[in-house]
Amino acid sequence: MVPGRSPIELRSSTEPLAASATHRAIDAVWRIESARLIAGLTRIVRDVSVAEDLAQDALVAALEQWPESGIPDNPGAWLMAAAKHRGIDALRRRVTLERKQELIGRELQILGQLDQPDLAAQVDDVQDDILRLVFMTCHPVLSREARVALTLRLLGGLSTPEIARAFLVSEGTVAQRIVRAKRTLAQARVPFEVPARDELADRLSAVLEVIYLVFNEGYAATAGEHWIRPALCEDALRLGRILAALMPREPEVHGLLALMELQASRLRARVGPHGEPVLLADQDRARWDHLLVQRGLAGLQRAEERSRALGPYTLQAAIAACHARARSVEETDWARIVALYDGLAALTGSPVVELNRAVAVTMAFGPKAGLELVDSLADGPALRGYHLLPSVRGDLLVRLGRLAEAREEFLRAADLCDNDRERELLLSRAVACGT
């Protein structure tokens, strides 16, 4: 272990070996233990970069030893002990090699901290460490991309290649992002702590944003050949569930989780047999995941019970719940959805929310009312270049029987859309309008 060294991508280099059962089991242990390990080590060494290097070293040790020795009874404690031993050894070796009388201050400090009795094993506050780590990886000093990459890597237990595949960028880009993010955290001296009450609301909303960004990239991929990527949704759900257990009193944490569970309940109905998107109105509701629906509705109730005024995620969850409870599009409580969108629009001022509200207004009060709203949005600059605006407008024009205009809108939407599957759907809708 050498502090500041660029992280080696162990998991990618060992992937050919992963065929063996032990390696798959080690992978599983890593997924379970890595966040706790890194969080515990960060508390000890106060540097997330050093902590991750130590954790990676422990993983190397496991990959070397477990195929022979079998997986230990308490793999988490084993990994923590290995990380500390390796850290101490590497630091001492470096002293010898470089024939220095003393370590530079920072390394000496780390060595001292590692030599302490195993605090992580004694104290039952590993969960608090994970929470501190969440607030660190989602710190506003980092760019959004960096927050997402670092959170998936350190808390989701994803390897750099996995993150790269998920976001359709090169491994080098993700690795760079993570290295820079860790450097930024160190330079900005971001403390390893849960924010104080006065800044908690803002910092928590940054955390929720990261989780929802991950979820959305899985739920409606912004680019690429696949329309949904369920594995990414599962990673986000897992993070959301972890956070809900860590901060059970925060309404918006439950609100976000409820929203994701309700949306995820529709995942398998959102894709047709050939990978094409299936819109809510056309979905086979029997294919919704009813366990997730139940969990989502229960989560929404928890969020509402804890709220004085409903927050943006809870409002969105409440909207999703209207769909989840409805047996069909016709039986959906559209008037309630409009009211919920009113609240959401007032809270966020987001033109995307206004657009969704216009759709709900259409369903509740007819396409003419909806089109008026959409047209007022189309005049503003905020949604210029947003493919869903012409897509929604096209849909409303179809309902009004104005097919030629609708066709133009669908073509414009297809032009603006970066997702291949979604573009195909838009083009087919344009074709359906005739020529």
């Binding site: 059962a21 798959r24 089991a25 959301g240 257990a245 398998r268 139940q294 047996r327």
Partner: protein, 139 residues
């Protein structure tokens, strides 16, 4: 991937005896771990089979047999539903469960609707959805 863990009944669970405080605490701690790791979707314990029944199907005939049933080992006393990234991860979690004395727990992967493919016709799907919604409405 979704998994179900089946917990077998024991003579004690069949007799309706509550587990010891020690075991309950261990089980609570384990459940808490599962929740905090974001793995747990559902988990329930079942009453003894004396409160249950079996329905036997023969042609148009339906024979109801009231519990209790023998062979405790073949009866289920509880279950968990977990969301895990792999079978290996589910096994790793299961290995941490607080059981002893030769008890064997069964881990099974849950079928999802798409696994049925065309066997499930749209009509069957709709009927299933109606049924589930009614169940949901009663909860």
């Amino acid at each position: 991937m979704r998994f179900m863990v089946l917990v077998p009944a024991s003579p004690e669970s069949e007799a309706g005896e509550m587990p010891t405080t020690e075991l309950l605490e261990a089980m609570n701690k384990y459940n808490e771990e599962l929740v905090k790791a974001g793995v747990m979707l559902a988990g329930e314990g079942l009453h003894p089979s004396s409160k249950g029944a079996k329905v036997r199907f023969d042609g148009a005939q339906r024979n109801v047999v009231d519990g209790p049933f023998t062979e405790a080992k073949e009866l289920v006393a509880g279950f968990w539903v977990w969301e895990c990234a792999s079978r290996e991860e589910a096994i790793e979690w299961l290995k941490r469960a607080p059981f002893d004395g030769g008890v064997e727990l069964e881990l099974r992967q849950v079928f999802e609707a798409e696994d049925f493919g065309e066997e499930l016709t749209p009509e069957l799907r709709e009927a299933e959805a109606r049924m589930r919604e009614q169940t949901a409405a009663q909860n």
